[in-house]
């Protein structure tokens, strides 16, 4: 019996929304992956990611996910 891979609840904001995968709310990861690696799988250029949140707290791209986290990604936003 194969184990179900861990998943994260992925939230992509603003211009990233259009790259949100269909399974964003249960996005499969490998436990211990960094957010930077998750971003790679989404084919979003790392330089475009301005803000990363895990479970409501700002983190750096090297923060790890293990499954069950809510992960939010923002591009730069500056309008008024």
């Amino acid at each position: 019996m194969t184990e179900t891979p861990p998943t994260i609840d992925l939230r992509l904001f603003a211009t990233f929304a259009s790259r949100s995968p269909a399974n964003a709310s249960r996005y499969p990861i490998a436990s211990g992956m960094t957010v930077a690696q998750v971003i790679d799988t989404l084919e979003i250029p790392a330089a475009e990611v301005k803000l990363i949140f895990i479970n409501g707290v700002r983190v750096q791209p090297d923060a790890q996910v293990h499954g069950g986290e809510r992960v939010g990604l923002f591009p730069p936003v500056g309008g008024g």
């Binding site: 939230r11 301005k50 939010g72 591009p75």
Partner: protein, 287 residues
């Protein structure tokens, strides 16, 4: 308080009753204006004199359960700078003027264009090509003549930022470029005052409150020297009226907390985010 002013107010008090049945003496708008005329006193001074006598000017009656008399005095004696008078700024001045923030410094060198009509409350078809700061001052005067509006029809720059926000207790960042926000932050830091900052793109927006000494904008936009472009996602997604008005309202909520010295929860070191695509509203921790 001059005796003639105190007497003029006392003679015109409406006894009034609060929602809980307690007495709530008030002074009607017409009486405020009449007393100002008769005594040669500025409307704001009449309202302040009334408040010091425990009398609520009628125009603030519906704020009174949240902002008591000492709060309203703080607001009327306060000076706030609003930098940028487009989508965010046009809504911010509307709210701050109605709340009775006594002095507003209105800063924007821009003029209205047709593409502002979708979201900028100050912008009407009649004002194409007209100075945003000038129209903002007219709007403030029309809403609340107790509020003293100082107009600067110039863009905020490294050179003038400190002078523009001098004597203010808070600065509300309503700009539309990321780089200039850092100039405002630096000036606010040097002036030792808090700054409220909002940014929007399409249906997404965020707001934060920055005190001097906080890491502030670099927590939201990354370090200033890493900025690649003055604009963000809004260059692609545009700016929508529902998003800017909500973000502006949140900025005002925070600015009014600062000005009334509230010590409860705020957006300091936090980021309020919204996404109206799926009605996400969340307060995130920046530290």
């Amino acid at each position: 308080m001059p005796r003639h002013l105190a007497e003029a107010i006392t003679a015109r008090i409406d006894p009034g009753v609060a929602p809980d049945g307690a007495p709530r003496p008030t002074l009607s708008l017409a009486h405020v204006h009449r007393i100002a005329r008769e005594t040669g006193t500025h409307v704001r001074q009449v309202e302040l004199a009334a408040l010091h006598a425990g009398v609520t000017p009628e125009r603030y009656l519906r704020n009174r359960q949240t902002y008591d008399i000492p709060d309203q005095i703080r607001l009327l004696e306060a000076r706030a700078a609003v930098v940028g008078l487009g989508g965010l700024g046009g809504t911010v001045i509307e709210i701050l003027a109605r709340a009775g923030v006594g002095a507003l410094v209105l800063i924007d060198g821009d003029r209205f264009e047709a593409h502002n009509l979708n979201r900028q409350l100050l912008c009407t078809e009649a004002y194409m090509g007209t100075s945003k700061a000038t129209i903002a001052a007219q709007r403030v005067a029309a809403i609340n003549d107790a509020v003293q509006a100082t107009t600067h029809t110039t863009f905020l720059t490294e050179e003038n930022a400190r002078d523009l926000i001098a004597e203010c207790q808070v600065v509300v960042d309503c700009l539309d470029t990321i780089e200039t926000r850092f100039i405002v932050e630096q000036a606010a830091r040097e002036a030792g005052i808090p700054m409220i900052s909002a940014a929007v793109a399409g249906l997404t927006g965020h707001v934060t409150t920055i005190f001097p000494g906080d890491r502030g904008l670099e927590m939201v936009h990354g370090p200033r020297h890493h900025l690649k472009s003055a604009k963000g996602a809004e260059a692609v997604l545009g700016n929508l009226p529902q998003t800017v008005v909500m973000a502006a309202a949140m900025e005002c909520s925070e600015a009014l907390k600062v000005l009334t010295c509230r010590t409860g929860p705020s957006l300091r070191n936090k980021l309020w985010i919204m996404d109206l695509t799926d009605n996400t509203f969340e307060v995130l921790s920046l530290v």
